[in-house]
Symmetry: C2
């Protein structure tokens, strides 16, 4: 029993018309009478005909696939921020009749500048790169003959198209909210030399302070070393009214630390996070935080990529997307 699926040819023979006519009818093109068109469609349906996309692809030289590259190191044991992104990318792709192929980029391949297999096999029309990759890998990607869009990552020194969260503005809004609640003495937790996201978040926080004429020294509490490894830190004395943390995990840990010392959150001190990940809801109280707009970022990245594939436009540069403030219970509302 060979799996011989039915083709346009089978339909054509049964109806004694040409394959061309069947093709036209099935793809709703002009040049077939309404009557015949209906008859062909009905028969196709009845025979369980399935369109063979590969034939079309070969004709057009388009695979109708895009590649999604995510470095292995970003897929943690527990959290999987980027896998969730991939879900939204997949859904954004639906509207274009495209599919996404996932490739987990190993450290070896990244270091050895090995391009994804789906590229070498001509399986994709373009690529989305999720998260930070090395400078030389960026270059290797840019030198391929298909379009590339970077998602959630931006490199100042490369001329790449990328869709990123507007960390600066989000931290600004978040801090504005904290100030609106009546807090004045507000600290930032995060090492601004670790990543450019943290840096931008710090600057957004600082902008808010400046605008409200809270002339604090623009200082930060370092929660990790420059490799990103968490380190222990001392709480400022006296304690500020509120802490703006660079991510929810740090906020979660800070709250535990504060509670062990006998402080109540938010009654004695307020804390906000960033990301709206699982730590935000597991924490008690639950965190006021900021959420990356994955669906929107995915939609924009895909739109840009498809446009590039279709030669609509060549350069897009850095596209920031606004994140959403999520208000919960970790900030005390004074007065």
């Amino acid at each position: 029993m060979v799996r011989k699926s039915i083709t346009m040819k089978d339909i054509a023979e049964k109806l004694d018309v040409s394959i061309v006519t069947v093709s036209k009818a099935l793809s709703d093109k002009d040049g077939v009478s309404e009557e015949l068109k209906e008859k062909i469609k009905a028969l196709a349906n009845q025979m369980g005909y399935r369109y063979n996309t590969m034939a079309k692809s070969m004709k057009e030289g388009l695979s109708y696939n895009i590649g999604i590259v995510v470095p292995d190191r970003f897929i943690g044991k527990q959290q999987s921020f980027y896998l969730k992104f991939q879900k939204h990318i997949t859904q954004a792709l639906e509207n274009y009749g495209y599919y996404g192929l996932l490739q987990i980029l190993s450290p070896d391949d990244e270091h050895g500048l090995v391009l994804p297999r789906f590229y070498s096999e001509k399986r994709v029309d373009g690529m989305i790169i999720l998260g930070q990759v090395s400078k030389s890998y960026i270059e290797t990607l840019q030198n391929t003959d298909i379009p590339v869009v970077f998602l959630d990552f931006y490199d100042e020194h490369s001329n790449i198209d990328s869709v990123i969260t507007d960390n600066f503005y989000a931290a600004y809004e978040l801090t504005n909210y904290v100030i609106k609640c009546g807090h004045r003495n507000i600290a930032f937790v995060g090492n601004i030399h670790a990543t450019s996201s943290i840096q931008d978040r710090f600057l957004g926080y600082y902008k808010s302070l400046i605008e409200h004429q809270l002339n604090l020294k623009p200082d930060f509490i370092s929660d990790r070393d420059e490799q990103g490894l968490y380190i222990d830190y001392e709480l400022p004395d006296p304690l500020p009214d509120a802490f703006v943390c660079n991510c929810d995990e740090v906020a979660y840990n800070l709250i535990q630390k504060l509670q062990k010392l006998g402080y109540r959150v938010p009654e004695d001190v307020s804390v906000v996070g960033f990301d709206n990940d699982i730590h935000a809801t597991l924490s008690q109280p639950q965190l006021t935080t900021v959420e990356v707009d994955m669906p929107e970022m995915s939609r924009i990245a895909i739109k840009i990529l498809i446009n590039k594939i279709n030669k609509k436009q060549k350069e897009y540069g850095r596209v920031p997307v606004t994140a959403k403030l999520v208000i919960r219970e970790s900030v005390k509302i004074k007065k």
Copy 2:
């Protein structure tokens, strides 16, 4: 500037040989002299030739893609067990030169028995279904003309090939461990009428009790209603030595509850979970639990699917995979 990529024809012309010869050389087939073969390969490399998989696919009638179907409802806001599974599936696929296409199955499509788009477009040679789908959707899938393997889901009443975690045996081993630590009075937390996983876990726990002649009544503490929604429950009085929970989240919540009542875990009472998800490491103390062996399950499921695609064997039935005991600090070691 048209994206005109180079083909075997280009190579053939440059070297003044036939396309057939180039094809043979590039795929390391017999019938070309070593010398010519090397020359062709070198030129292909130099010209940046990329093999066009679509042409091969069309010839063979195989897409070298498989479809991964995961119901939308299983992709939670925070946890994404099945997305992580998909990562391992993708990696297992590497060895076969295959790719995975992800389709999030909407409730509407499941209810309306709409098959995934990649099936209608003949883009996949087989499908992996992740997690439970409705009885009638199973049937619809089984009636397609491509092989299907179910992963992490089994239906007693359908004749399906599926790869599942051996919940029964895992819970048995976990309970054995608790008993080995010196505990005698052990309770089970979980509604055995909610899912068949919970039921199997309960039975594994019960088998361990029986074998150790701990003639407790085989009772359970119901943590959720039969729709799976968590409900509040009363702790048994007197408190048992240990609780075997049906999942880490329930264990996490139980520990918080116990600690609020002034009990210390594990000094006063021991608690074990199941899944080794984020709750296991966030909990204090961290949970002794059981971890689903995703890489192994993925490898087996893919192997079965590829075999079915290649007509090696038709039926595999229910394939249980052993889970791994993860020992941490939530069980007190008596004596």
